[in-house]
């Protein structure tokens, strides 16, 4: 439960950080999807149960909805569905090392964007979202994914480090890799 809370708080802070940096640096396109990385980390973590992870994903999506100004529920649903897909993938793939984490970030960002656009396209009329604007957004998805690719490895390592410091990592503390103990 505490682990889920850490994901949520960290996710919220990172959403604000990205928003703030985007404001300062006048960036609008190449912004990393930090929530996607946290989502992937939670999905591939054995310590996070499926319902708890799904709850975190929906909560993170809800926060993204509020910060991005999306119709409430859009990103929450997209995050929830993306978490389920990533959870399914976690039973078939393992993520380790810099490049796999980067690739996972890229994939999760593309997945999240794809799901979000799909939801919005389906509900474009009742949500009063113009479809041509959504199709235009398809052209910048790769920038979003590319930014996430760069951010994913250090963010993943940071989450690992934070969870280890809080003794919430997957392995027992004496076997935490960064302490060098138990090897």
């Amino acid at each position: 439960m505490l682990r889920a809370f850490v994901y949520l708080v960290l996710g919220w802070v990172l959403i604000a950080v990205v928003g703030g940096m985007a404001d300062v640096l006048s960036l609008t396109i190449m912004l990393p999807a930090t929530s996607a990385v946290i989502l992937t980390h939670a999905a591939f973590s054995v310590s996070t149960s499926l319902p708890l992870g799904l709850g975190v994903a929906i909560a993170l999506g809800y926060l993204e909805d509020l910060h991005q100004g999306a119709p409430i529920g859009t990103l929450a649903l997209a995050h929830g569905l993306a978490f389920l897909v990533l959870r399914w993938a976690s039973g078939r793939f393992a993520i380790g090392g810099f490049w796999l984490r980067a690739a996972a970030g890229l994939f999760s960002a593309l997945l999240l964007d794809g799901l979000t656009l799909a939801i919005l396209l389906v509900l474009a009329e009742p949500l009063e979202v113009p479809r041509h604007a959504l199709l235009g957004a398809l052209g910048v998805v790769h920038w979003h994914a590319l930014a996430t690719l760069f951010v994913a490895p250090p963010l993943w390592a940071g989450i690992d480090r934070l969870l280890a410091v809080l003794r919430l990592d997957d392995r027992p503390p004496q076997q935490a890799y960064w302490t060098g103990a138990g090897t």
Binding site: W12, V13, I15, A16, V17, G19, G20, M21, D23, V24, L25, L50, P51, L54, G55, I58, G61, Y62, L63, D65, L66, H67, P71, I72, G73, T74, A76, L77, G80, L81, L84, I119, L123, P126, L127, E128
Partner: protein, 295 residues
């Protein structure tokens, strides 16, 4: 395939959890602009958080911007300093050229004022004493033009005379040379005497005590020795030393700074005397013009 209780519970939880965003979406679809109390509460917490991050990031950005700006200013400063060095160097060159130009102008003006037949000569070398005083200068006129004994003048006054004339250059004996003797007079009282070189930067002159002499009196050539044209300044009196008898010794500092000479004039021949018939009217000669020559 039998489903475990845990799987059923997880499935139910997934449906319930996914139902939340669906309900939220349904609510948004009904009224896209409506915000619930929870939405407003979360925004109330999130907005200051984002503003704080934005402010912190802005401060950090401003710091780096200032740092980059300072680096740019430093680069610009170094560039300007380099340009400044170059310009100062050019300024020194211009000042040097200006001084040289001024000296040449004065030399030309002198040429126009002095009636003697003179030839310009450029200084090509100097001999200095152990105390860095100029004791001898060398000019670029050899024996083709110069002869020993010829007077050497500058716009400031008398320099000395040709000592040795070689093929390509000549040595000039300065008026401060102990071997130098020049017939001079005081410009104010016309008291005459022989100026002798004494040390590296002074000369002495003995005149009768009958003449009143003051410190600062100008000493000039008298022309009596027929070596130096009359009336050229030599220096000024800086000290008056009374001697036993009816003489007084005057210490004279040369008017010419020998270390700053670039161009001098070598007097080839003194000006001829005035034409005694210059004031008389000559015989009238009828102009021929274009008229035909009569047989």
């Amino acid at each position: 395939m039998a489903l475990s209780l845990r799987s059923i519970r997880n499935g139910a939880l997934i449906v319930v959890l996914l139902g939340i965003p669906v309900l939220l979406l349904r609510s948004s679809a009904q009224d896209p602009h409506r915000m619930s109390g929870l939405d407003r509460a979360v925004r109330r917490i999130g907005a200051p958080l984002e503003a704080a991050v934005s402010y912190s990031a802005g401060m950090l950005g401003a710091f780096f911007e200032r740092w980059v700006l300072q680096a740019r200013v430093q680069d610009a400063n170094e560039k300007l300093a380099s340009e400044n060095r170059d310009l100062r160097q050019r300024l020194r060159e211009v000042v040097h050229l200006q001084e040289e130009n001024q000296q040449l102008r004065r030399a030309l003006q002198m040429r126009e004022k002095v009636p003697e037949d003179m030839i310009p000569a450029e200084r090509v070398g100097v001999d200095q004493s152990p105390f860095f005083r100029v004791v001898n200068i060398r000019v670029d006129r050899g024996s083709q033009y110069a002869r020993p004994g010829m007077a050497v003048l500058s716009p400031d006054g008398v320099v000395g005379r040709i000592d040795k004339a070689l093929d390509d250059y000549s040595d000039v004996m300065l008026i401060t040379d102990p071997r130098s003797k020049i017939a001079v007079e005081l410009a104010r009282t016309k008291a005459q005497g022989i100026l002798e070189g004494r040390t590296e930067d002074s000369c002495t002159l003995e005149v009768s005590k009958d003449y009143e002499v003051e410190v600062g009196d100008i000493v000039q050539t008298s022309g009596v020795d027929e070596l130096f044209p009359k009336g050229h300044p030599i220096g000024q009196v800086v000290e008056i030393e009374p001697l036993v008898g009816d003489q007084q010794r005057l210490h004279v500092v040369p008017a010419v700074r020998f270390d700053r000479i670039d161009v001098v004039w070598v007097v080839l021949a003194n000006a001829p005397g005035a034409d005694p018939r210059s004031g008389l009217e000559g015989p009238a000669v009828q102009a021929r013009g274009l008229q035909p020559i009569s047989p």
